[in-house]
């Protein structure tokens, strides 16, 4: 299987704190690679480095065979590296549908269009409607995004991520703050997404992780201490001690 996204000895330092410590990891076509670890392990820092919100101190990031280490977040997004946020990051002042349309618009022709009304942009609307349907949100939803329930906002994040027709997805705790029944639904959504996009999944919900992931890496204090199939991780003493022991 071909490698879509990879890091090579990636490092990030905040003062004396080594937040990302020599991390080399890859994401292959068709797989879900989960990154787990206790709070403060540096998972979100790592995702921010991947998506370009944080500059790396050393090491290299490759995406689709290209070195993207020095590219801006916008360039990486434009190249097809999509992501979601642990803390919901949407446009609350716009409607649910507009949020998704905006994401679709980013990778569907130029947005330097000044006259034609975006509401009538049928190509963008079609992509947005499809993305919504796939996540299980219905059709043309004109509620302001600010008024959605937490679960709906989490689903909206996912819909926005796939409306950009990404080549790979970084999901930063998509289940954060979700109740039990909703988490089942989201797990199904993740299983479905996996069929179309390579997923780098950060998640605390171990049921979901073991159900969806093909490979799991365990991050502790910015360092990968174990990496392997779900079975291997389950059997790995170090990984259990660091994380699974307390949570699964």
């Amino acid at each position: 299987m071909s490698v879509i996204l990879s890091t090579h000895n990636l490092t990030k330092r905040f003062g004396a704190l080594l937040a990302t410590d020599d991390v080399s990891l890859d994401l292959r076509a068709g797989e879900c690679h989960a990154l787990i670890g206790p709070n403060g392990a540096g998972k979100t820092t790592f995702v921010n480095q991947l998506s370009g919100l944080l500059a790396s101190d050393s090491g290299r990031i490759e995406f689709l065979g290209e070195d993207i280490t020095t590219q801006s977040a916008a360039e990486r997004g434009q190249a097809g590296l999509g992501r979601t946020f642990q803390i919901t990051s949407i446009i609350p002042s716009m409607t649910l549908f507009e949020n998704v349309a905006l994401a679709a618009q980013a990778r569907c022709g130029s947005s330097f269009r000044f006259f034609r009304r975006a509401v009538h942009d049928s190509e963008v609307n079609a992509i947005a409607a499809e993305a919504l349907a796939r996540i299980g949100l219905t059709g043309r939803d004109d509620r302001p995004a600010a008024n959605l329930s937490h679960g709906e906002k989490r689903a909206l994040e996912l819909a926005m991520a796939i409306a950009g027709r990404p080549r790979a997805l970084l999901l930063d705790e998509p289940m954060a703050g979700i109740g039990n029944d909703e988490s089942d639904q989201l797990t199904d959504a993740l299983l479905m997404l996996k069929r179309d996009y390579p997923l780098l999944l950060i998640e605390h919900d171990m049921d979901a992780v073991f159900k969806v992931a093909d490979r799991i890496s365990v991050l502790v204090y910015g360092r990968i201490i174990a990496s392997g199939t779900p079975e291997e991780i389950r059997a790995n003493a170090e990984a259990r001690a660091a994380y699974l022991g307390e949570d699964a």
């Binding site: 919100l53 977040a73 360039e75 446009i91 002042s93 330097f112 006259f115 034609r116 975006a118 942009d121």
Partner: protein, 307 residues
Amino acid sequence: MRASVAAILIFALCAAIPVGAEVWGGSYLTGLVMRAMILAIAALSLDLLIGTSGLVSFGHAAFLGIGAYTAGIAITEGVTDLATILAVAVGLSALFALITGAISLRTHGVTFIMITLAFGQMLFFTFQALSDYGGDDGLTLWEQADAYGLFRLEHGLFYLILVTLVGLWLLLGRLREARFGRVLLAAKVNATRMETLGYNVFRYRLVAYVIAGVIAGIAGVLNANEAEFVSPAISAWQRSGDLIIVVILGGMGRRTGPVIGALAFVGLEEVLSSITHDWRLIFGPLLIVIVLFAKGGLASIVEGRRA
């Protein structure tokens, strides 16, 4: 719907002013409305930055100055063709916006306000230093630009300003609803998300900054022809402040807000200054009341809550 009706009524009312003024025998009102319409054009352009993009520029009067001085200097030097003057003013405004925007837009919040203010003041002092063109005292124009006989028609300039205002109002309204406007509006709320979706927010804002600058430059050209006088005061920071007040008074991010704000501003200035020389003593508290009680500005009263 209600918003469009309100806008059409306002523009129709403006159009009727010169005719009505003849009946009442006062060309004074015509001049007043002309000034308000020019202010409205400048405020519309500033609202593209403040209301649509969330960029509070405190140096927008600089572009009024560029337009006005382009017209003033050209006419003084004998170049009176309006199309030429407009083309030069648009070019210079765009250039100034591109350079200052490329620098200012790397900053945010208060820093952005201060840096735009600084650029504005830079231009103000430049105009003051133009001793060949009136320096501090300003420059009186002995003729208007030549608009192919249009200005020789009675109220020719008035209707040129009105048509420009309505045209730009239409264009900027559409821009807000187009892909470009959507990106600006979303980036105002959550720029980080827009970046990760693949939008180079800086680039969109820079283009908005240039568009806004060019429109204000056009307003400056019109201003010079209306007043037949140009002085550095047109680009002073107080003028930039007035423009922000007009936008807030009318309603930020509302299509007709700047137009309503400009009419109200000029009207209030006129009425209040006839009561007292220190009219801003009354105007200030009034502005506070409007900001406190009509959150969307005067436009929210005229148009209803959501526009």
